[in-house]
């Protein structure tokens, strides 16, 4: 599903040049659950953003579903992204001015889904994330765990084939973290490919494969076959 070839990402600011990714070669298949681990600043988020088409690589190739996409325009990337990819962030990134329902509905609006269909699907997703009773609340009225469940609902609402999660449990206590991991695992079992950045070994345990990054390089790839 995803293939990278000699992926390089260099950030240039006024004074410094940071090589965030250096010759990253990866292949991730449909249905996989991959965890990316590594010390802070080693390029995990950068890699996730590039895979998620939020950012362009400086050099190298990126293949997504058989298309070579690294040179796509912003418009093309947005179109590809909204059909195929859902995001979950450490800091939830819900819009404060919108209710839970409206936050989850947002991707469907940009996909021009009809009103009744949107309503049905949002309610379904909220049921599934066990947060339907909070549909009319605003994000700030919810606990962290609840907010992250809303964020996951928003990520899955468009039935994406791929979910990218950047430290989804980083801001949660262990009970809430556990619940979020259960949801992700369940989604993976239903066929969604998941790539997750994490610092937590126990969260990483849920994955099929762990990719270790260090200073922009892939150092190890641990294949583990779950029973």
């Amino acid at each position: 599903m995803i293939k990278t070839k000699n992926l390089i990402k260099i950030f240039r600011t006024d004074e410094v040049e940071t090589t965030a990714l250096n010759n990253v070669n990866l292949e991730i298949n449909e249905g996989e659950f991959v965890a990316i681990m590594g010390p802070s600043g080693c390029g995990k988020s950068t890699l996730l953003n590039i895979i998620g088409l939020l950012d362009n690589p400086s050099e190298g190739e990126l293949h997504f579903n058989g298309y070579q996409v690294e040179n796509y325009s912003e418009r093309q990337r947005t179109n590809l992204r909204k059909e195929n990819i859902g995001f979950v962030f450490q800091s939830f990134n819900l819009i404060d001015e919108l209710t839970v329902f409206e936050n989850v509905e947002l991707p469907l609006l940009y996909m021009k889904v009809s009103g009744s269909e949107r309503k049905r699907r949002v309610n379904e997703a909220l049921e599934r994330m066990n947060i339907a009773h909070r549909a009319k609340h605003f994000p700030q009225q919810l606990s962290g765990g609840q907010q992250q469940r809303v964020a996951i609902a928003r990520a899955v609402i468009s039935n994406p084939k791929l979910i990218l999660a950047d430290e989804p449990t980083g801001n949660l206590d262990s009970a809430n973290g556990e619940e979020v991991m259960n949801l992700l695992t369940q989604l993976n079992e239903e066929g969604t490919t998941i790539i997750m950045v994490t610092h937590s070994p126990s969260d990483a345990d849920r994955s099929h494969r762990i990719i270790q990054l260090f200073d922009g390089h892939v150092v190890t790839e641990n294949m583990r076959q779950k029973l």
Binding site: L54, E97, E102, L106, M111
Partner: protein
């Protein structure tokens, strides 16, 4: 999608009430100014256009040069109307208009002085769109001694009675029969007639032969206004093109003899109000003010728009996350741009709604300031409302597009990392915007100060004659005019009356001018000289200073027949300089073939009076000649110099004496200094307009600064906390926050100075007597704008600086 946009917009407004209120207020005030100005301009541009045939109506005016002195007057000779109709196939109708000044009207017990009623030809109703409510437009003015009144006057004199056929006594004893009542003429007319006497009356008074005379001399007295209605499809230019032939036929012979260069001026009716700058015209508008006001409206709207841009971009950090999330979940950039534009548009339209309501509320006040009758309503001024909507649309799009492009350009990968983007990107631009706002404000402030000083200068300048405590009365009673000396004696019996004098013209206003012969190097030379006929007490009463020779003297019999007193300007003009006394002067010239030398006076200069301003200060002091006479013809204006004491009683006394001398004509008076001030009405109005709009522009700019400073204070809360913990005092922190703005305001003022200096000099150049723009005006402007700016910023800064540092450091 639209619903989602609106929800976000409304919730955003709600969350940020403070900024929303600031923004909406700024935009509303900007739109209020713009709407008021547009209303004003639209009315100025609409003058006389309600006349259905206005495109075919022209006024004939005269531009003539006599002895090197050029005069451009709005009037033309009496025979122009009929002879133009004869000679030019393009002319369909003509209307002559002859003013008659203030006249007393009497009906039964009711007795008032009325003005703006003129003698007109009966064609007036076929040419102009004045609507007769009663009477027959074809016949109403076809007989002598007919009068048509407007509704207001008809109501005033006849109440609920039927005015038709009623007899009004005009002046002392002239009876006019009311033959029609017309609708009041709209305010946007260059002539605001309140009624018409039939032109036939003048014909009856003067005799048909004299009235209709086309003797050459009749073409050289520019005594009335002439309007022509041209036939459909004829060109206005044709009249000018064919005029030389006409001139040859009727005017050239005598014109050459008099040494006059004559040019016909043909003005389109609708151009008169704004584009005419002739003498003896009705008070006109000024196209310059239209430009000034348009510029002001534009600048004020820009300030309001800039506020919006400033606050929207300043708050971008707060909006960044929303932008990022929307992009991640699939929003294209153009969708976001549309969203932000809708946001600015909904704000501007909210502001527009408020502005329209406020304009409705303050229009009466504004009207009284600018002396207009403006109205804003869907039925009467739909175009203004449409224009306002358009204006709001443009304002919303222009001020919304920068924030829209800026905000929508955020990179989601960067934003969502959690690291906040710094508001740096907009920093430079924001500074430029604040500078431009305060530049405009500074120009407005210094403009207001300069207009105010010039006005004050004109009101207080030594006019060269005493204008204070002078009561003026116009003597219309012919019997009374023959008994002025006994009247003066009677008045002087009152201890509070100092001097009484008369003249034929009102000083500071009207004058007469005629050809004179003066003693030059090589015999007598011609010059068109102003003159005024005064009595023996006039120079004393006016406290005019003699520079050479003597005043007129009652005891010198020849003074009334052969003595002149000229002003210094005349002595200079004629090269007499210090030796004017004894020089020969002659009023009027003998014409070939004229037997009698009526109206000619030969004599010598007996004195030179110091220059004085007998015209408004816009104009230079020109040569003038005084002659003295106690003939009733010249005793039209009576001046009474009063003491400061018991003013009311003294006036009552004058009225009592007046009524003894003139039982028929009611006592009327005004004070000279007050009337002279009316000369500067348009400057007063400009001062008001300037003050109001500069005040508002400053208000809007301050709102913006207030918003910006509170935002910055908020953004720097943590920094301030740390500094405070490290020992900074509140005043040091306030200084830290305020310093930046002070710098911007000073830069703005420096930019404003040359612009204001240039613009105000252009305006001042219209005045022969003007102030110089001195440096302290700009210093004052800097102080005022700094004071306003610092007050605005300091409050927020102080709040931020005095906050508890512990909270500030925790703040994240």
């Amino acid at each position: 999608m639209l619903k989602n946009f609106l929800i976000t917009i409304i919730r955003n407004f709600n969350r940020n009430k403070f900024y929303t209120v600031l923004n909406v207020t700024g935009l509303s005030v900007g739109l209020i100014c713009a709407i008021l100005i547009v209303l004003f301009i639209q009315e100025e541009l609409s003058y006389d256009k309600y006349n259905v045939k206005h495109k075919r109506i022209v006024r004939l005016a005269s531009d003539f040069t006599l002895n090197g002195k050029r005069d451009r007057v709005a009037t033309s000779p009496m025979p122009f109307g009929p002879t133009f109709k004869q000679e030019f196939p393009e002319v369909e109708e003509f209307v002559r208009v002859q003013g008659s000044g203030r006249q007393q009207f009497r009906y039964g017990e009711k007795e008032f002085y009325e003005e703006r009623i003129s003698y007109v030809d009966s064609s007036v109703f076929r040419v102009f769109s004045y609507k007769l409510l009663q009477g027959d437009p074809d016949k109403a003015l076809s007989e002598p001694y007919s009068i048509v009144l407007n509704q207001t006057l008809a109501k005033k004199y006849f109440g609920d009675e039927d005015p038709l056929g009623k007899v009004l006594i005009v002046g002392e004893d002239r009876s006019f029969t009311v033959t029609g009542v017309m609708e009041d003429i709209p305010g946007n007319s260059h002539f605001r007639f309140r009624g018409f006497y039939s032109m036939k009356t003048l014909e009856a008074l003067r005799g048909s032969e004299e009235f209709n005379s086309t003797e050459p001399i009749t073409f050289w007295s520019f005594s009335n206004y002439t309007f022509l209605l041209l036939k459909e499809n004829s060109r206005v230019e044709a009249i000018k093109e064919k005029f030389p032939l006409y001139y040859e036929k009727y005017m050239k012979a005598l014109g050459d003899q008099l040494g006059i260069d004559y040019t016909l001026v043909v003005q389109k009716l609708a151009d008169i109000h704004l584009k005419s700058d002739l003498q003896w015209d009705a008070p006109t508008g000024n196209i310059k003010y239209i430009f000034i006001l348009s510029a002001i409206a534009f600048f004020i709207l820009s300030i309001a728009g800039i506020n919006y841009m400033n606050m929207a971009t300043a708050r971008s950090t707060k909006r960044a996350r929303e932008v990022g999330v929307r992009k991640v979940v699939g929003a294209h950039r153009d969708t976001l741009i549309r969203q932000f534009l809708m946001e600015s548009l909904s704000l501007t339209f909210l502001a527009l709604a408020i502005a329209i309501i406020v304009v409705e509320l303050i229009l009466p006040f504004f009207n009284s300031l600018v002396d207009k009758d403006l109205a804003l309503s869907i039925s009467e001024t739909p175009e203004i409302l449409v224009f306002s909507v358009l204006l709001a649309l443009i304002l919303g799009i222009v001020s919304g597009s920068y924030p829209a492009f800026y905000l929508s350009s955020f990179h989601p990968a960067v934003i969502l990392k959690g690291s906040t983007i710094k508001g740096k990107a907009g920093g430079m631009l924001r500074k430029l915007l604040v500078i431009s706002q305060f530049t405009v404000s500074a120009i407005m402030i210094s403009g207001t100060i300069i207009v105010g000083i010039q006005l004050n200068y004109m009101n207080n300048k030594d006019m060269g004659f005493s204008k204070e405590d002078v009561l003026v009365s116009i003597v219309r009673d012919s019997l009374m005019r023959t008994r002025i000396e006994p009247l003066k004696d009677e008045l002087r019996k009152n201890p509070n009356i100092n001097t009484v004098a008369t003249s034929n013209t009102l000083i500071g206003f009207d004058g007469s001018k005629t050809v004179h012969l003066y003693e030059g190097e090589e015999g007598m030379e011609q010059y068109a000289l102003n003159f005024s006929v005064i009595d023996f007490d006039y120079l004393d009463m006016m406290q005019m200073k003699m520079m050479q020779g003597r005043k007129f003297d009652r005891n010198i019999a020849s003074d009334t027949s052969s003595a002149f007193i000229v002003n210094q300007a005349a002595a200079r003009k004629f090269n007499w300089n210090e030796n004017a006394v004894g020089k020969k002067l002659q009023l009027g010239v003998e014409l070939e073939g004229e037997e009698d030398d009526d109206g000619i006076m030969k004599g010598e200069v007996v004195g030179v009076v110091a220059d004085f301003h007998y015209r408004p200060l816009r104009e230079n002091i020109e040569p003038i000649n005084f002659l003295v006479s106690e003939h009733e013809r010249f005793r039209r204006v009576m001046y009474v110099k009063l003491n400061q004491d018991n003013r009311e009683e003294t006036i009552k006394y004058i009225e009592k004496v007046w009524n003894e001398f003139s039982p028929k004509m009611a006592f009327n008076y005004f004070f000279l200094d007050e009337r002279l001030r009316e000369n500067y009405d348009s400057e007063v109005r400009l001062t008001w307009i300037f003050s109001i709009f500069s005040l508002l522009s400053i208000l809007i700019a301050s709102l913006g600064l207030f918003g910006l400073s509170s935002f910055i204070a908020e953004q720097r809360t943590k920094e301030l906390g740390v500094r405070k913990v490290l020992g900074a005092s509140v005043s040091q922190l306030v200084y830290l926050l305020t310093k930046e703005f002070v710098k911007l305001i000073i830069i703005a003022n420096i930019i404003a100075i040359p612009i204001a200096y240039w613009a105000m000099n252009v305006w001042l150049n219209d005045f022969s007597y003007r102030i110089q723009i001195s440096w302290w005006i700009f210093l004052l402007t800097i102080i005022v704008s700094l004071a306003i700016g610092i007050c605005t910023v300091a409050w927020q800064s102080f709040r931020a600086a005095s906050a508890d540092p512990v909270n500030a450091i925790k703040y994240e």
